[in-house]
Subunit: 291 residues, 2 copies
DNA sequence: AGGAGATATAGACCACGTCTATGATCAATT
DNA sequence: AATTGATCATAGACGTGGTCTATATCTCCT
């Protein structure tokens, strides 16, 4: 099999029409180039160049070879440029999996500044449940997952993100609860609005009630944080929401937090990546940014 | 600059999904392949493969690189196939320059058997005058020229071909000349049909008459052997033709040779190639065949 | 005649690519 | 649990082959 380095030499010799200038381009000496061309010609058994007093020119067969090699070399050059672009993050993509609410309320500012810093990187946001996100990660469809903790999976490496505080909130309709401190039990008298069954937050709150011997059964189940907010504001019930996601509503007073006689355990956001798998440059830079 | 051999290794590793099998395909050992891939990754600063327990698989960036390298490698493979085809004459072209009459009456059987032997070789016949043919040869537009001798040109290497005998012939209209032996001078009384002014044969006959102190002025000038034959048969005059080209007409009696009181000097056909220039395999095989 | 440019050739050298040997890890056996 | 048979990674030794310097040869141009 022919040493592909020889094609590189052939390409430059043909392109420049001179072994000496090919040598310069390749940072070699002229005899090396001469030798390389000779090797190529001998391995084909075909003369590729006419040697003139002022350089070299391709034979008919040389022209034929060049028509292939030129394209091939250009592709390699493009590949090298592309790789350089990927390396310095002028190009590439970052694929993040997780929940829409975390994207919107937590990751958005990071995504914005990341995009500003590396405008060439395409961002792919892949929303799904925690198990779906883990599966995507393992299939290599995303670089990074952002979900609620805890995650226990030996294949995954988990990094702590921000700590969030979930709480029960209500709107004007339940204004009389504003000054009260409720127990978990008393809360159950009111219509509860929870996130859909397969979410991490939902599982956590269900477990919390169970640990106190109660069972929480929502009147309404919704699929987005926006609906949790909306329904609570309309007075349809008491929503269990991440406090940080509704800072605007709390401030303007359209929602208020229900005070409880126990502190709700904080919930931790985590970044997951595959353990022992190389991380793309784009992804590691993003994690750096968030940290 | 990256060693292009590494791309070859990368290609096979990516294609087979295994460093071991890439090693087999490349007749290398597995550690060599491993080392090569590592070199490539280090020079890009990008991880190209995930290492699994049952082989390797491309990272996102690896896929990007592969999309370029695959095309590039395929082109090189095609180039190598093409070169092999050129080498064993399954492909290629042979470009011959010369006069139409020599092509038709002399070269045709050789061209036929050459084509039969090497059906993949495209034949290009480039007809023109001797100076045109020489110019084409020097410009590299033809591999080989077939012309009348003598040729004196230090850049050219000339090989003798067949020896031809030119003669004067007439048709039935001049039947009374059949048994006569004419001198050059007496010939001038008859209308003479000659090949056009820029041909070798024409120059030769003109010089011959001049060397005896006569000047030959044709009544008719034509551009093809066929017309020389046709006009002579129709009785329009006496044609000066290469005897070997009209063996059929002489045999069937539609033309007869005018006997002269001197022997016409034979004319030599020669093959010209560029001196000190490599000859294509296709061309050298043709010359071999003619010899 | 001489100089400047081109490629070819010869021979020396050493870097680097390749090898062998071994380690580490994983998965599918037994 | 232990074994086997894959995989890729690492270390270090070896030797080939690519590269260099020096020189020759040729052509063209001043």
């Amino acid at each position: 099999m022919i040493n592909y380095e020889l094609y590189k030499v052939f390409y430059w010799a043909a392109k420049t029409g001179s072994l000496s200038s090919a040598a310069k381009s390749l940072y070699l000496t002229q005899p090396s180039v001469s030798h390389a061309i000779k090797q190529l010609e001998e391995s084909f058994g075909i003369t590729l160049f006419y040697r003139n007093s002022k350089g070299v020119s391709l034979t008919q067969e040389g022209v034929t070879l060049y028509s292939y090699i030129e394209k091939s070399q250009i592709l390699i050059s493009l590949a090298e440029e592309k790789m350089a672009a990927l390396k310095n993050l002028d190009s590439g993509e970052l694929r993040i999996g997780g929940s829409d609410s975390l994207f919107k309320h937590y990751l958005l500012p990071f995504l914005e500044s990341y995009h500003q810093k590396y405008p060439g990187i395409k961002l792919h946001l892949n929303h799904g449940t925690t198990p779906e996100t883990i599966a995507f990660l393992k299939e290599g469809k995303i670089d990074l997952g952002v979900v609620r903790m805890p995650i226990v999976d030996s294949q995954l490496e988990v990094m702590m993100g921000i700590q969030l505080q979930d709480c029960f909130v209500a709107g004007a309709h339940y204004a009389d609860l504003k000054d009260q401190v409720l127990s978990l039990e008393s809360l159950l008298q009111y219509p509860i609005i929870l996130f859909s069954r397969n979410s991490r937050v939902r599982m956590a709150i269900t477990e919390l009630f169970q640990s106190y011997g109660y069972q929480i059964k929502p009147e309404i189940e919704v699929g987005s944080v926006d609906l949790l907010i909306e329904f609570a504001r309309k007075g349809l019930g008491i929503s269990y929401i991440t406090k940080e996601f509704i800072s605007k509503e709390l401030e303007e007073g359209s929602l208020f937090e229900i005070q409880l006689d126990l502190k709700m355990p904080p919930s931790q956001v985590g970044f997951m990546i595959m353990r022992d798998m190389p991380l793309s440059n784009a992804a590691s830079k993003f994690i750096e940014l968030v940290k």
